[in-house]
Amino acid sequence: MDEDREQRGSRIASGVGGAEGQGAVRVRLRNPSREVSLPAPTTVGGVLEALGLPRASHLVIVNGELVPGEHPLGPGDEVEVRPVVSGGAR
């Protein structure tokens, strides 16, 4: 299951399999900064699942605000997936 998820993540993150057109949700990712499109409708949880990213280490910010995992997303939403992991020494 993890392998499937990771394969999906790398496929979409590399631009292969991304959805285009009016029925797509555009998602901005950080570190490194990039943008992908996913088929609409989807949910906050669906975005992370499609990208193969752990929920425990990523915030999904919709139109500047946090929303629950089952919040529906459509083409007009501004979606940012932000990693929360910081590393190194502090």
Binding site: N31, P54, R55, A56, P68, E70, P72, E80, G87
Partner: protein, 378 residues
């Protein structure tokens, strides 16, 4: 400038619940029950915490984090009434979350609206690591936050104390970038706190940091590092007490706190941290957490309750016995000269020999395999 500055979510109108038929299309179980509600006030929830099986609306989420930090500090005896605390701030989500929580607690304390925690909003101390644009952006973020909140801020430049910034110090080859960064922070924060008369240094180490370090120490069975992995490291002559009020708070929670509270923080990772093994441990633990919500907390909490006290009993005395003042700076150390002074001397020697200023070549590994593992615990 950081790239994203969300507005204060607690002050803004909450997004309304979607029509039931839209919910049904993507999430049948929840659509039958309606949108998830805040466990505290029953308003629509915005922040879900699967590991704690709970959810909050924005204002109640801020309250939840503040209460958790206050409880952690009280139970850990991190700060006693009347003591002066300084917060180590980096511009990242954890330290700014902590500073905001403590400043808010002090303000509420002053009006009698909350249990006593601090008599005055705490000062912050920022260490300028000398990592090019990253440090410049971090400092700007911290200064902006301090000014907006009216909080006192001190700045200490590592280059002035060590003789070079972290990138150049790492190139001297004594330690990895994270290794020399960690020891510089510990040394300089302690020196600053001693000089300024602070009783305790509060740092933004979170639950994920501690769980990742714990996993690394367990994988190597490093008993001495395990013994020292505590939320509070008590002070002793030459060492100011250090405490980690966010030890029960995940970094997802601190990041969410900043987004909800409208705190602008540096989202970008430190460029020197690439390849750090603790990032690998964190990713493994995050994937485990998705499968078993709460497992990171259980892992760390179980260690603190069941194993750490045993290690303290067995190894604590012998570890204390070997400390003596550094021959150069007087800081407690196990050798004749402390690690910080040794790095400073090595840098000075390289400067004298004329080979300390070459730039790091593209693709050079900032974490040489021979270097010691980075530690975020002490």
């Amino acid at each position: 400038m950081t790239e994203h500055t969300p507005g204060r979510q607690d002050a803004a109108a909450l997004p309304g619940a979607a029509p039931a038929n839209t919910w049904r299309a993507v999430a049948p179980p929840r659509s039958r029950r309606g949108p998830r509600r805040c466990v505290r006030c029953r308003q629509p929830a915005a922040v879900e915490l699967p590991g704690q099986r709970t959810a909050f609306c924005p204002p109640c989420y801020l309250h939840h984090v503040r209460q958790k930090v206050a409880r952690t500090m009280a139970e850990g005896h991190m700060l006693r009434r009347g003591e002066r605390a300084v917060v180590a701030v980096s511009g990242g989500k954890d330290s700014l979350c902590l500073w905001d929580v403590l400043a808010t607690a002090a303000e509420a304390d002053a009006t009698g609206d909350a249990p006593p925690l601090l008599e005055a909003p705490p000062a912050g101390v920022y260490l300028d690591l000398g990592i090019g644009e990253y440090s410049a952006r971090s400092r700007e973020t911290v200064e902006r936050f301090a000014e907006a909140r009216g909080l006192p801020l001190h700045v200490v430049a590592v280059a002035e104390e060590l003789g070079a910034g972290i990138p150049e110090a790492a190139r001297s080859g004594a330690r990895s970038a994270c290794g020399v960064c960690g020891l510089s922070k510990r040394h300089l924060l302690n020196r600053f706190a001693l000089a300024e008369g602070y009783d305790v240094v509060l740092t933004g180490h979170n639950l994920d940091d501690e769980a990742a370090v714990l996993l690394g120490n367990v994988l190597q069975w490093d008993l001495e590092q395990l013994r020292r992995q505590r939320p509070v490291l008590e002070g002793r002559p030459g060492l100011v007490r250090r405490a980690k009020p966010l030890v029960r708070t995940t970094e997802w929670e601190t990041a969410a706190y900043c987004v909800v509270a409208g705190i602008d923080y540096v989202v970008e990772e430190c460029p020197m941290a690439e390849g750090n093994r603790h990032l690998v441990y964190k990713d493994l633990l995050a994937r485990l957490e998705d499968r078993a919500p709460g497992i990171r907390s259980a892992f760390h909490r179980g260690f603190l309750r069941r194993l750490q006290p045993l290690l303290e009993d067995q190894l604590g005395e012998q570890s204390l016995a070997g400390l003596q003042p550094c021959a150069r700076c007087g800081a407690p150390t196990t050798g004749e000269v402390c690690a910080f002074c040794r790095v400073a001397e090595r840098l000075a020697a390289r400067r004298e020999a004329g080979d300390g200023a070459e730039p790091l070549s593209a693709g050079a590994d900032p974490h040489p395999p021979a270097g010691p593992p980075p530690s975020r615990t002490d």
